[in-house]
Symmetry: C2
Subunit: 438 residues, 2 copies
């Protein structure tokens, strides 16, 4: 049977199972690295040549073992690590050597004044120098020392209706011109997943301007940006005056666009057109608690999504995702739900079909529970920006009037580029924060 497609890799170890349960406001883990700057009084270094390992006993009494091959592989000298490219130099001729576990350090010594460990290699007398802080940050997790894990928990705030009237709000000009304001806005976007930007000029081109401020936008089959107006023969239901059920966008891509921008250039004069938002991660956690079997069904079976038509290009898109994607710690990292583009191809065993519909029903009931819904009617000149891997959005039907048409412009940008920008600002402003993989 084909179930989860490419996101399902291999059985997790028993170790990982059922040990983690998230509650509201609890952290969700991206990958990131601690920044620790410690002055060591004494670091005891023992070179275990027989086992090709360096034992480093830290100030706190713990000991880390670094295989020699790891240290050789990560020599930071300009010959081994290209300084401007910041990339490892391995040529074709040295590539097998670079992974030779017989690689041997003949000498190792700690220099307290420089806070460095110097290692001399047996084969070619090459010398590698490691900053002790650098090395301690890279120690490996052991049964004794779980702190060695390179993951820190990034703080995510799960929310329900409590976010009504409390959506993190920022000013267009400030984030456009001030790096710290830009960073704070993006941090809110990563943490809460839903933000409102005010004082945006009421003309097209502003979503791209803001995306360019981060990095560059994500082009899709709907173009660089898209215009949401009521159209004849629409290529997408969004381009009608109908209401739209809660959904995440563009699930027929392998990489579902990470962040969506929606700029209200003109709101419907005749009323309606409010947006609804729901925190999919919160919804998933409620389901996990209420009905673990349904929760499991929605993580274990992928649903097929498609989109056929002509817009920016002629397209016939197809991909598949489970509704809920978990990482190796069983934490929710993606929520994909889109009834409009869900395929009639349902690749689940016959005897599971009804259960799957029940699981759908259960999660949709949580989704539409008024206590989980946030409603917002954008004014002209406002832009809503949200995490499309997490936050579902919908809209109520609106009235077409002679007075004028509702007019939104939207675009997407991905989390890789956004997190990259956040890290670049952290480095530039010498911040303590380090943004992991989102």
């Amino acid at each position: 049977m084909h179930r989860l497609g490419k996101r399902l890799v291999r059985p997790l170890q028993q170790l990982f199972q059922s040990k983690h349960s998230l509650t509201r406001s609890s952290p969700i883990s991206p990958l990131a690295f601690r920044k620790e700057l410690v002055a060591f009084n004494s670091v005891a270094v023992e070179n275990d040549i027989d086992n090709r390992q360096l034992h480093v006993k830290w100030d706190d009494g713990t000991t880390s073992r670094f295989p020699h091959i790891y240290l050789r592989d990560n020599c930071q000298c300009p010959n081994c690590f290209h300084p401007s490219a910041r990339q490892r130099n391995i040529s074709d001729t040295s590539v097998l050597e670079a992974y030779d576990v017989n690689t041997k350090a003949s000498q190792a010594q700690f220099y307290p004044d420089r806070q460095e460990i110097e290692i001399k290699w047996d084969k070619d007398n090459h010398v590698s120098v490691f900053d002790t802080n650098w090395l301690k940050m890279r120690r490996f997790p052991t049964d004794r020392d779980q702190v060695g894990h390179k993951i820190i928990y990034s703080d995510r705030r799960l929310w329900g209706g409590d976010l009504n009237g409390d959506i993190p709000t920022t000013d267009f000009n400030e984030i456009l011109h001030d790096d710290l304001e830009l960073y704070k806005w993006l941090k809110n976007l990563a943490r809460v997943g839903l933000t409102l930007v005010k004082n945006v000029p009421e003309e097209v081109g502003q979503v791209e301007r803001l995306a360019d401020r981060i990095a560059y936008l994500r082009v899709t089959n709907y173009g660089r940006t898209f215009t949401v107006k009521s159209k004849h023969d629409p290529s997408n239901l969004a381009y009608t005056d109908k209401g739209l059920a809660l959904h995440t966008d563009l699930p027929f891509f392998d990489l579902v666009p990470g962040i969506q921008f929606l700029h209200c250039i003109k709101q419907a004069a005749g009323g309606g057109g409010e947006n609804q938002f729901v925190d999919g991660f919160n919804v998933a956690e409620v389901l996990r608690k209420e009905n673990p079997y349904y929760f499991d069904l929605l993580t274990q079976h992928a649903f097929v999504y498609f989109d056929i038509g002509k817009d920016y290009v002629e397209y016939n898109q197809l991909n598949h995702h489970p509704l809920i994607t978990l990482n190796g710690r069983n934490e929710v990292i993606r929520f994909v739900h889109n009834n409009h583009t869900r395929s009639s191809i349902l690749d689940v065993p016959e005897d599971k079909v009804t259960d799957i519909y029940q699981a759908f029903h259960a999660i949709i009931q949580i989704m539409y529970d008024p206590s989980n819904l946030v409603t917002n009617r954008m004014e002209s000149g406002e832009m809503i920006v949200f995490d499309n891997w997490r936050v579902l959005h919908g809209r109520s039907a609106f009235q077409l009037t002679a007075g004028g048409n509702r007019h939104l412009e939207g675009c997407y940008i991905d989390w890789d580029e956004t997190a990259s920008r956040m890290r670049a600002i952290e480095e530039k402003l010498k911040m303590k924060n380090f943004t992991g993989v989102i």
Copy 2:
């Protein structure tokens, strides 16, 4: 422990384990759907109201059970399924109803003349009409009837050195102007993963021209396109005259770019600059056979990749992938390997570090086995296009001469857009083929 990150979801059922082994030239599975057009003499329809199921006994004696809720959910009438958007109409008010497993078909009948099954719904007397072929294509897999699976095996040709001098080759102008030639080229790209395009004008802009012919290119931190020339203070080792070890590009993205274009505008006058290519899927299968433990290590542990610098934008990219990614059938669907950008952060347990290096060593030995290598020196006016989820590429060092500089232009495009284009051509040219998820 955090291992595989987001691609590791949940334990696979025992069912999926160790039952699949690929050999060279054996198929690798994307998801796709059979196109079967059969005229049914007799389809026996039994409406099992108690269990809310429609039993359909086909000509061949097999029986499929369709839960009523599935049929109601997939009614194809213009009210339920928007004809131009080709999307399911579900409004906020009907969304819970749409998943109500108590939904009941009061009548069901097969009309042999129209080859249709007509269903009348109890609640609102709505009528749904299903084409029997349409329905048979969507039957669910059962223990009795595995054919119900919606996956077909797309043919992938694994290769080694046998591809030397035999890289599928096509003409730039033909694929630019003839849809069928474009399709055949892309089919080779999907099947073999390595293609050569000849008669390309020796000037910049051709990679984008060809990407636009498919859909649109993928922008990265290196821009819309990138120029490979030797540079001072390069942001990437590719921009030096050094050799490059075998690698796949840009592993520090969640969605690693799927396809790479490299257009040789001018080859090095002084010699060198040949490209080496290796089929990562083939390499993975050899390792799986030779050393299943190492193979497992490389599927179970993710490696961190990063890229810091300034090029098209200021970037600080970070992501992680296992070297080998498997789908739910334990088939290889991604191969990610890049020593240059692999991080010194290695998040694996201390007692596995040496084994991991041994696994690396083993797979690199297979990679560089001359019998697996394909070498090609592009002439000016040639373009190499390859699957960056599968094929590793490298290059030998080249000589800078006063006579002129080696000059390549490259860009990326993703598989979603490419497969979408293939499906659109299949529909346009009324082909029997159906391209699945790649």
